[in-house]
Symmetry: C2
Subunit: 354 residues, 2 copies
């Protein structure tokens, strides 16, 4: 039986008033039962909001709970009900502000359904990632949402398929794991077409490592958009970075501009990178957007704050998180439910940088 279908037990356990002293030892359900003069079964029923309890009995139990300062031991409850009510969220790097809003979306849906969310920083390390999936196998968590790159690929070769998890942002539609994300190919195309429409043809791409599926998809979107416009992309303008942080973007931009024929526009697969690019450009004396236009990706809250404000592809981060959580919950509720993959819309946000 789902606990969330009943009134929250918290409501039945009011904060202890200052008048009633703290229990000397930990109270168990037996103590409450003894105190109320009923059986433990009845206490349990009251705690879980079952209706088949006489009002008078319920009051006795509640009074006993109050006077003993009893708190349910969820360790015991979890064992009995065989669920931990914990959801894992795996992110490659929670210092990256892109994830913050997604995680909020997940958290809010999880809480609404009586789950807690455990945020796990994997450092995009498959080893750590696996250690978190291991938590699922050990019943420490009921399910997981993975924003990490490696998992989707590993799911092909391992029995990760059978575990209750969903992919968010990073996904492989062929792998049989429920997912939510955006159409990275088209989003990248939109960014490039915006730059083309502004008259740019020497358009660089600053990408993350190839380990990321989205990196591959956005690269194809970039290349195809260029081809469709009859522009021949210069391979020297495509750079892959291991890191998404500001510094990485800054130095990549400086290196790009040191070329004989430097690009006049830079498309970057993340806003954090783009912010670094703007700084890097400035450090070599280039103005944005006059000398070089910059387009980012994600639309983190910072994007509108920098100088110049960043033109970028907005991802619906909150919805991404909420949707991921809903898919997972659906899967948890019914293990054999056919949970779909879903693609959410992106949006080009034009600001000052391009």
């Amino acid at each position: 039986m789902s606990r969330s279908s009943h009134p929250d037990a918290t409501a039945l356990q009011p904060e202890r008033s200052r008048l009633s002293p703290r229990p000397v030892k930990d109270m168990s359900i037996d103590d409450v039962a003894a105190q109320a003069g009923v059986s433990v079964a009845t206490v349990s029923r009251v705690l879980n909001g079952h209706s088949n309890v006489r009002a008078e009995t319920r009051d006795k139990v509640l009074a006993a709970v109050e006077s003993t300062g009893y708190r349910v031991n969820e360790l015991a409850r979890n064992l009995r009900t065989a669920e931990s009510r914990l959801l894992l969220t795996m992110v490659p790097n929670f210092g990256n502000p892109f994830y913050a809003e997604i995680v909020r979306g997940i958290d809010s849906v999880a809480r609404q359904h009586g789950y807690f969310m455990l945020l796990c920083d994997t450092g995009a390390d498959p080893g750590r990632e696996r250690s978190y999936f291991e938590m699922l196998r050990r019943r420490r968590a009921d399910g997981a949402i993975c924003l990490d790159p490696a998992a989707a690929q590993q799911a092909l070769s391992e029995e990760l398929n059978t575990l209750p998890w969903v992919a968010c942002c990073e996904f492989d539609a062929d792998v049989g794991v429920p997912y939510v994300g955006i159409d990275n190919y088209r989003a990248a195309g939109d960014a490039v077409m915006h730059l083309l429409a502004r008259g740019h043809t020497r358009i660089a791409l600053i990408n993350s490592g190839d380990g990321y599926l989205y990196a591959q998809q956005r690269e194809r979107g970039y290349l195809d958009a260029l081809h469709n416009a009859g522009v021949d992309p210069d391979p020297r303008w495509q750079v892959h970075l291991d890191s998404l942080d500001y510094e990485a973007g800054a130095s990549a931009a400086a290196i790009l501009m040191a070329q004989a024929e430097p690009p006049t526009a830079i498309f970057t697969v993340s806003d954090t990178l783009a912010i670094g690019v703007v700084k890097g450009l400035r450090s070599v004396g280039k103005r944005v957007p006059d000398d070089v236009a910059v387009v980012g990706f994600d639309d983190i809250s910072l994007a509108a704050q920098i100088d110049p404000p960043l033109t970028t592809i907005a991802q619906p981060m909150r919805e991404l998180g909420e949707t991921a959580a809903r898919l997972l919950l659906k899967r948890l509720a019914n293990r054999s439910a056919n949970v779909p993959g879903v693609l959410l819309p992106h949006r080009l946000v034009v600001r000052g940088s391009a």
Copy 2:
């Protein structure tokens, strides 16, 4: 007899790799014991690395674990050992990059000691905060680290004292809860003295809400530093904000500059605010630092990236987190241990903005 050892079981599960068949049903320690021809106690000993097991027996058990695909059920283990091995970390807002590195520090120490860390976003809401403390009482978590403002104050009036938690960054030394933080009073003084040394006397303070202890401490540091220099602080230059985000800083700066006698320097209690201030200043045509100098607080990684790079007070964020985790672990190991309060050093980092 375990069904997965039957050849047919594999054939019935085509989606799994044929190399390592997974169990059809969940294996328990009894299944492993049966498979290995030993008792459950022996299996438990092997699993927990006890030394008093014959090597030969150990191998038998390990082989049985392998062949059954057994995973320990930590729900059961937790009930038996009466610990969840989960630590809570409560932050008012995990979108704020200031917390990211602290949380990393906590996480790394926790993991080293076999604990998982659950990150909780309280939104600085005492209600949500209490619901997390409630998790402690219900044995869902073993201990907590709180970076939230309200807890310290509440600890005075409630029996929060008796719960296993430590305060980080936001603390009240009088409250009897172990804590780690910096000397906010002196740090603010250092920032103001730097500005004074640069010749400023019209120095504004953009502070957060009074609910934050650090806000009060930094305000006193600011006021006293000014007094000590014989400067009379203009009350119109002290603003309190509900929010720490970029927008809040931007509009506060604009309003400050609209005064008849606007300040020539702004000290801000957080880098995020300071970044907003720089943008707000720019939007009303003021140059930084030529027209107005800006000093931030925290030294988040972004601080060095913006234009101009931010002068700020650096907090040792990683160490703050690591120390908090160690204090908590110490308290958990020995409930009656006398866990101290600790103050870590801050540092003025001079960059371009002041």
